[in-house]
């Protein structure tokens, strides 16, 4: 197992280099650059020298290969560089946003697990009953509904409900409240985006739990357990559920990694200053260094999540051995 983990860790390096080459090439194919945007100005004046000076300062006039190797070299020694837009260290730009995105991702994952495992199980156990049909409707609606749209509905719903109940409009806070400073305020702010994303996330996981459990429930060892007189509750909880979790864990793990950088629109709906919003800003600002660092961060999270999923596989099913 240890050997396997080390091997997987080492395999991260070519994966990340591939991602780095791809993002660097794509970013430099977009017309325009950060200096042109910085001095987009008020339209009345435009100083060519100012733009040239900016390019010189940022090293944009150097050959692309030099720029690439300098960046990738820094990356592998832990130096992410500075944002071309704000000139602040990238770690400083990303730090608070990583924490926020991580918190939303963790909350959404918890909500998703709390919804999907029980609902998926009930749906499988009560297959083709009204309960199953209801759960399937709810989960298909969750898959069909984009989380940002649900987010907008939540915001408008909160305004409408608070207006009618309290006589004034209420929405969650629009500026970030750190959990250590004000846990209640933090929860008041982040529970809504977590619900919006957690619902869609749970819909996928519910479908997966249901289908995996249905498959396991048809296995011979389940039939044997039932034949031996084990009560149905124990058959499902002890013998079937754990063994049906492998594909569910995969879905949950991949979705978690996606949430870390993919909540672009949902973050904007709730005005969360997370990684997704930073991603959009960095791309529109042509902030090459920051975009590249963000892509590498998300690629790293995906690779690590894959390793974590593999480890959970081995824990769930002792027959799985990595050698």
């Amino acid at each position: 197992m240890h050997k396997y983990l080390v091997k997987r860790m080492l395999m991260m390096v070519p994966t990340l280099i591939g991602a780095a080459i791809l993002v660097f090439t794509l970013m430099h194919m977009i017309p325009g650059d950060v200096c042109a945007l910085r001095y987009a100005g008020t339209g009345g004046t435009f100083d060519v020298n100012q733009i040239e000076q900016c390019k010189e300062e940022l090293g944009l006039n150097r050959p692309l290969l030099v720029q690439f190797f300098e960046w990738i070299g820094g990356f592998f020694i832990g130096d992410f560089g500075t944002s071309m837009w704000t000139d602040r260290p990238i770690t400083e730009e990303m730090g608070p946003r990583v924490l926020l995105s991580l918190q939303v991702a963790v909350m959404a994952t918890i909500i998703s697990i709390l919804i999907s495992i029980p609902l998926g199980t009930i749906s499988a156990v009560k297959q083709n009953s009204w309960i199953d049909y209801t759960v399937r409707c709810v989960s298909i609606a969750g898959i069909a509904m984009p989380s940002f749209w649900l987010g907008i509905l939540i915001m408008l719903g909160l305004l409408a409900v608070s207006n009618s109940l309290l006589g004034y409009g209420w929405i969650p806070p629009i500026q970030y409240i750190p959990p250590l400073k004000d846990p209640i305020g933090n929860l008041t702010q982040l529970i809504w985006p977590a619900l919006a994303t957690g619902y869609r996330y749970s819909a996928v996981a519910t479908r997966m739990t249901r289908s995996a459990l249905l498959e396991v429930l048809r296995e011979d060892y389940i039939r044997t357990a039932r034949a031996k007189g084990v009560i149905e509750k124990l058959v499902v909880n002890r013998h079937a559920l754990k063994n049906s979790m492998l594909p569910v864990v995969t879905v949950i793990g991949i979705e978690f990694a996606f949430l870390m950088g993919g909540l672009v629109v949902t973050e904007q709906v709730f005005n969360l200053n997370g990684l997704g919003k930073l991603f959009v800003d960095s791309v529109t600002n042509h902030d090459y260094t920051l975009t590249q660092a963000l892509v590498m961060l998300v690629a790293f999270i995906f690779v690590v999540m894959n390793i974590v999923i593999d480890v959970i596989y081995a824990w769930l099913d002792p027959r799985i051995r990595y050698s």
Partner: protein, 544 residues
């Protein structure tokens, strides 16, 4: 000692006049109340830096202006006027001496930076030297506004003298630009780039915390030099680039104001939702969208074709209809329509594209296209920016207008980066939307936009016309306001009618909506102005 007392009395007096004038101008005659935490949304992403001398975006003014002082500023009680008031200087804006070439400013005494160090004339000089004569490696976005300045001197610690090369009516407005923050000389001497990442001013609020792209918070400066101000205890600016969030923040009372402006439909939605808890303010806006023909591409190098383009535009009708859906309204020439130097309606109606008989204009346009041998089956490119308000709306309107004379344009909408790459480097457009959006209304400077492209590269039409440049210079150097107005008309006619080097579409119209408990703020012709927040206050009773 007597001098100090006199200075203090003058400062207190000026503050009282400013505050009283502003309270009266509020329209309610309410007595300002002290205290409260004011939260406003900043409809922008994080600015590239915090140094307003370097930046051009309002995204730096809205969050940062409350922490700084300026030498002059627009009168917060009447921000639409062209009367400026002293901020750091003492008394009224000084009259020039030496034939209009010397301006001497006396500074208020006892002004301190937030770190406790005194603010003297050396700090003012260091700040303006950085703006006007930036050293190698330092960017100054508006140094061209101060072409008339020869030197800045400081005879003593409380006096600053600006020596001009020639008398210019553009100097005082340029000096009152909201970007001209006064920085600490000591900080600049230690590191001239220090202010790009740090905030240290002498303004009404002291910085508590800045989170890039998220929020900025400050508390009342107890030692603010305008006694009795600011009214607020605390301010927070929250970055929220999306209009839906700004609207919901106002509706949900998470923020009390957004200072840039809203389109008409959003205004109506907010008023419907909030009723008398919303206050609407509207004014003409010192921003305009242009249609810029590419003079380096055929057939737009032909003045007949350019004239046909402007003749096709129904500006008066467009004003009526577009103002219902977009942030544009006012028909005007190259000068901000409410300026004393702007053309009157009668003067405008002498120009092609502004005349009353639209059908006659369009018939003439078709004739001109025929004369120029234009192939009407061809499709031309209109370069536009991927911004809804008002770029895309005006772009669609232009397509329709030109179709009326048989010209087909395809609109290529691009994100800001590629849009500027087309304008500046590639030149791969036939006509492009462009804009001119200024803070202080300063027509002699603002109209430099239309100078030949080799003189002002921000004229993206790629035109070079020395006669036009001479007309501009003639107007710029004219000291007599009446004569300058006449010369402005000649320059304007040459640009918009004789050569049609560029076309004015419609001037923007600014509409702000804020919660009614937010008081003491008056709309100005620019979203760059009125952001010091020292004269604004909160009235909790208004929510009851």
């Amino acid at each position: 000692m007597l001098g100090l007392r006199a200075l203090t009395a003058a400062t207190v007096g000026a503050a009282a006049v400013l505050a009283a004038g502003f309270a009266a101008a509020d329209g309610h005659g309410d007595k300002p109340k002290y205290g409260g935490h004011f939260t406003y949304v900043i409809p922008s992403k994080a600015p590239p830096s915090l140094d307003a001398h370097r930046e051009t975006t309002y995204g730096v003014i809205h969050p940062v202006r409350p922490y700084y002082s300026t030498l002059l500023r627009v009168n917060p009680a009447d921000p639409s006027s062209d009367v400026y008031v002293c901020d750091l200087c003492l008394g009224d804006v000084p009259e020039p001496t030496n034939g209009g070439k010397t301006y001497t400013f006396k500074l208020k005494s006892g002004v301190k930076f937030h770190d406790g160090t005194p603010l003297t004339s050396a700090d003012v000089k260091a700040s303006f030297d950085k703006i006007i004569f930036p050293p190698e490696g330092v960017s100054s976005a508006r140094k061209s506004f101060y072409m008339m300045v020869d030197s800045v001197t400081t005879p003593d610690a409380s006096t600053v003298v600006f020596n001009l090369k020639y008398a210019s009516s553009a100097f005082i407005p340029a000096l009152a630009a909201p970007y001209n923050f006064i920085y600490s000389k000591a900080k600049l001497d230690a590191d001239i780039h220090w202010y790009e990442k740090n905030i240290l001013g002498s303004g009404p609020f002291i910085l508590d915390e800045y989170q890039s792209g998220a929020q900025i918070t400050g508390t009342k400066n107890p030692n603010y030099y305008l006694k009795g101000l600011p009214y607020l205890d605390r301010i927070t600016g929250v970055f929220a680039n999306k209009e839906s969030i700004q609207v919901q923040a106002l509706r949900g009372n998470r923020a009390s104001a957004q200072f840039r402006g809203f389109p008409p439909k959003t205004r109506d939605d907010l008023v419907r939702a909030l009723g008398d808890k919303a206050t609407v303010q509207e004014t003409d806006w010192n921003c305009v969208l242009l249609a810029t023909p590419n003079h380096s591409r055929k057939p737009f190098d032909d003045v007949r074709v350019r004239r046909a383009l402007t003749l096709a535009l129904d500006r008066w009708g467009g004003s009526e209809y577009l103002s219902k859906i977009a942030i544009v309204k006012t028909v005007g020439g190259i000068v901000y329509p409410k300026s004393k130097l702007a053309a009157t309606k009668e003067e405008l109606m002498q120009l092609d594209g502004y005349k009353a008989d639209l059908e006659a204009s369009r018939a003439r346009a078709r004739e001109l296209l025929k004369e120029a041998g234009i192939d009407l089956s061809k499709t031309y490119i209109l370069n536009n920016r991927a911004v809804d308000q008002p770029y895309k709306v005006v772009g669609v309107w232009l397509l329709d207008q030109w179709r009326q004379i048989g010209l087909n344009f395809e609109q290529q909408v691009k994100p800001t980066g590629p849009f500027y790459a087309s304008l500046r480097e590639k030149g791969d457009f036939d006509v492009s939307i462009d804009f001119n959006c200024q803070s202080i209304v300063n027509p002699p400077i603002d109209t430099s936009k239309y100078l030949s492209s080799d003189i002002n590269p921000a004229n993206y039409s790629r035109v070079v016309d020395r006669k036009m440049d001479e007309l501009y210079n003639d107007m710029l150097l004219e000291a007599d306001p009446a004569k300058q107005r006449v010369k402005m008309r000649t320059y304007e006619k040459y640009v918009l009618h004789d050569q049609v080097t560029q076309m004015i579409t419609l001037w923007w119209f600014r509409t702000t909506v804020h919660r009614s408990h937010f008081k003491g703020w008056k709309i100005s012709p620019s979203h760059y102005l009125g952001q010091a927040l020292d004269t604004v206050w909160l009235d909790p009773d208004a929510d009851k």
